[in-house]
């Protein structure tokens, strides 16, 4: 047998002061639908490793034939913008309508953009 805590390498095995409950890591799940062009975030779940995260996602999020491809990303690996930076991050783009491609005539042959 490998080390007794192999499934949770990032969690210390023993804390003599306050025993903590081992939790599986949180995974964010992305699924591409039958006709979808890209993977979309559908929710999150817990799983001990990547392979089980995919299986759990299959069982939790594709029961009704929702998808043909699954991505699982451990939540701690996702870098997210901070709500505190909302002002400087997003407000400057509010006044720049010329960045929207609404001032061009797009030929029909181009198709969906």
């Amino acid at each position: 047998m490998s080390s007794p805590n192999a499934a949770y390498p990032d969690i210390p095995e023993a804390d003599p002061v306050k025993p903590r409950r081992h939790e599986w890591p949180l995974w964010e799940i992305f699924i591409r639908g039958q006709h979808g062009m890209s993977h979309r975030h559908v929710g999150s779940l817990h799983a001990p490793d990547a392979a089980m995260a995919i299986k759990n996602a299959r069982d939790v999020y594709t029961r009704r034939n929702e998808g043909v491809s699954i991505w699982a990303v451990e939540a701690r690996h996702i870098a997210a913008s901070s709500p505190d930076e909302k002002g400087p991050f997003y407000e400057p783009s509010e006044s720049k309508v010329y960045r929207h491609p609404t001032f061009y005539d797009i030929p029909d042959d181009v198709g969906a953009m």
Binding site: M1, S2, N5, H46, K55
Partner: protein, 252 residues
């Protein structure tokens, strides 16, 4: 080939999935984590879905007007033809997953062989079911490895589960007169012919799970022949069949 033997064979396939499906459904709302709860419910539903196909065909072959529901809900324990492994109690989560893996590892080989059945109806059911079973065995195998090669506690429980359930493995591969009739007609494989593939899969998974397969090959039997089920089946049927027994013909 006698129609009686075909009916027996179809009841064996359908009763295996019915009894195990009901057992697995007993976890609904009780599994240790939400994800496993949903996964077990999915497995149970797959098995019950397969039951409808097997017992539906059994009723058709029998020709006495019995539906899949009639066969499932109105037969008593001695008329059931599932292997003893399927009716064993859930125990703890590890024991349930061990039972599932041992069954799945047989089931997937059996269904793969049945896709080549000389009976087109059976081949069609098997073609649908084998995809579900292929997922079941992958999931249950991974869980056996995860728990076997897990903590000291989970390893101990998984070894205990394997020791407890191993004597129920042999019955799945022991041929009898029904199996011989099926094999001769090209309807189903000789169950003994499935053993090498089963052993190879079990051996690899148990090695990865750091679990030791018991050396004793003693096999309990009497389930698939209906000669002697374990005491657990009757208790399970009491609960499963209660509604139809108390309110005959009730539906919604």
């Amino acid at each position: 080939m006698a129609e009686g033997a075909l009916f027996e064979f179809l009841c064996r396939m359908g009763d295996n999935t019915l009894v195990l499906g009901h057992r697995v459904s007993e976890w609904c709302g009780h599994a240790p984590v939400l994800e496993e709860d949903i996964a077990l419910a999915n497995t149970a539903l797959d098995l019950i879905g397969q039951t409808q196909m097997w017992l539906g065909l059994a009723g058709e072959v029998e020709g006495k007007g019995r539906s899949a529901d009639d066969l499932a809900m109105l037969r008593d324990a001695w008329d059931f033809r599932n292997v003893l492994l399927a009716e064993q109690p859930n125990g703890d989560f590890g024991q349930t997953m061990m039972r599932q893996f041992l069954f799945d590892a047989w089931h997937v080989e059996m269904l793969a062989a049945l896709t080549r059945s000389s009976d087109a109806r059976i081949a069609a059911i098997a073609a649908k079911a084998v995809k579900e079973a292929a997922y079941h065995v992958e999931r249950s195998g991974d869980t056996v490895i995860g728990l076997g090669d897990g903590t000291t506690e989970s390893h101990r429980r998984m070894q205990a589960a394997l020791d407890l359930l191993w004597p129920y493995v042999g019955e799945m591969f022991l041929p009898d007169a029904v199996d011989a009739a099926m094999a001769e007609a090209g309807v189903a494989p000789d169950p003994a012919s499935l053993r090498p593939a089963f052993d190879a899969r079990i051996g690899a998974v148990m090695a990865a799970a750091t679990l030791t397969i018991p050396e004793d090959d003693f096999a309990h039997k009497g389930g698939k022949s209906g000669f002697r089920h374990s005491e657990h089946l009757g208790h399970m049927l009491t609960e499963m069949q209660w509604l139809q027994r108390a309110y005959p013909g009730a539906s919604w």
